[in-house]
């Protein structure tokens, strides 16, 4: 049961961080902290910058 709860909390946290869930699950630290959001956006931008050179077409564009 604890494992299932942890899994649910984890998926909900990921959904919140990914922008697909509006409300954070209870206990997610610093959900409202603008500095941490800045850091998160910065990390995402860095990932995009590092990997964008190999960019290819989205698969479903061709359907």
């Amino acid at each position: 049961m604890t494992t299932m709860k942890l899994l649910t909390w984890l998926t909900q946290s990921l959904e919140f961080l990914g922008g697909s869930r509006d409300n954070p699950p209870a206990g997610l630290p610093a959900a409202a902290n603008p500095v941490l959001w800045g850091v998160w956006w910065g990390a995402l931008c860095l990932l995009i910058y590092v990997f964008c050179g190999q960019s290819s077409k989205f698969i479903y564009i061709d359907f």
Binding site: G18, G19, W37, W41, Y60
Partner: protein, 391 residues
């Protein structure tokens, strides 16, 4: 490309979303119409290479004009459905159809310069949905501007998620509540989508490129499932990234659109998998194919046939090729077998962790083995299975 180009963000998304929020309410649909038209012409011209694909904007204009004649219980709604199917057939399936029908002829009436208008596979769904729902009085007509805004809403135009007019219209008319919060969530979603695409989906290409006859023939057998799993992860991360960007983009306008994915690979049966994979397509197929065929309110054998037929339609829609037919059949038969099994053995109230794990593993295996027909032609896919299972 589109969503991974600067042009999309700088010339289309940001200006249109800002203008949409600043414009008076009666002008908002027209902001989307102008933005969507420019988007279609620009990307048709630059990605499909030429003026003729760009002129396919006329399809939207023609469809919107005929849509004004759709009335509840009117036979004219069928004109809308048939013209949408004919357009899709001509552009997407004509050459496939010619190859099947005139397979012995020396001179085949192929369309030599065939091209696929941008997003035709997806906007066809929305054209059909509107025509059928108008006939069944399930939606109001809306104004010409509102309908054009619905079909030309560019974040979802090219590859969905497939919207519903009844859900879109109230959002188009509503007060735009919280600009900054919408932009915060929308930008987060777009950044996550782009990161997922670049850092995961594109990285997996190094593995999926090997799914061809030459590489499969010489590969160590143990690596074959890794390549197929890589494709399963690639298509998931690629398409869910695309959906993230589309949904995030729509959020900048303040317009929520349907979700497409909800942890599909964590599901414990194939029916659940399809309720969590490409959700907007599955729900469209349920409403406009499965239920009109009789759905679940017919004899069990007819239900199985309806399930298989619906998945066949899904397979054929994904591509004009025998491999896509087999992919649809694979999932149709899997769903029918799962349904038959559940009739014989209903789901226990508290399944044990071991049985849940076994169900998850089986679902994951069925979904991923099916990708072989999706990403390879029939000959290559069968060769892949021969090597995978018999060495």
């Amino acid at each position: 490309m589109i969503f991974n180009t600067w042009a999309y963000y700088l010339f289309f998304l940001i200006p249109s979303a800002v203008l949409f929020r600043l414009a008076p309410r009666r002008l908002r649909p027209w902001v989307i119409v102008v933005g969507g038209s420019l988007f279609f012409v620009f990307f048709s011209y630059t990605t499909l290479g030429g003026l003729i694909p760009a002129l396919c904007l006329g399809i939207f204009l023609w469809e919107s004009l005929t849509s004004r004649f759709y009335k509840p219980k009117s036979w004219f709604c069928w004109v809308g459905v048939v013209q949408a199917i004919i357009l899709l057939f001509v552009f997407k399936y004509w050459n496939f159809f010619v190859g099947m029908v005139w397979f012995q002829a020396t001179e085949k009436p192929y369309w030599a310069h065939a091209f696929l208008p941008l997003g035709i596979s997806f906007f066809t769904f929305e054209f059909i949905h509107y025509a059928v729902d108008r006939k069944q009085s399930k939606t109001e007509a809306g104004t010409l501007g509102e309908y054009l805004a619905f079909i030309l809403f560019f974040p979802t135009m090219v590859a969905g998620p497939i919207k519903r007019y009844q859900q879109f219209l109230p959002k188009l008319r509503a007060d735009l509540a919280d600009w900054w919060y919408d932009w915060h969530r929308g930008i987060t979603r777009i950044l996550c989508g782009l990161a997922k695409k670049f850092a995961i989906a594109d990285l997996l290409t190094a593995y999926t490129n090997h799914l061809n006859v030459a590489d499969i023939a010489v590969a160590n057998r143990a690596i074959l499932p890794v390549w197929l799993l890589a494709y399963g992860m690639k298509i998931y991360t690629d398409f869910s990234a695309y959906s993230d960007i589309a949904i995030g983009s729509a959020r900048l306008f303040g317009i929520p659109i349907p979700e497409n994915f909800d942890w599909p690979y964590l599901q414990t049966n194939i029916a659940q998998f399809w309720r969590h994979w490409h959700i907007s397509l599955t729900s469209w197929l349920m409403d406009y194919v499965y239920i009109p065929l009789g759905g679940s309110r017919v004899s069990p054998s007819r239900v199985y046939l309806n399930v298989i037929t619906t998945m066949l339609v899904s397979g054929i829609w994904h591509g004009a090729g025998v491999n896509f037919v087999l992919w649809g059949l694979w999932h149709g038969v899997s769903l029918a077998v799962h349904r038959a099994y559940r009739r014989l053995r209903p789901l226990p109230e508290n399944p044990s962790p071991a049985s849940q794990f076994a169900s998850w593993l089986l679902t994951f295996a069925v979904a991923n083995l099916g990708w072989a027909f999706f990403c390879m032609d029939v000959h290559t896919a069968l060769f892949f299975f021969r090597r995978l299972f018999w060495g």
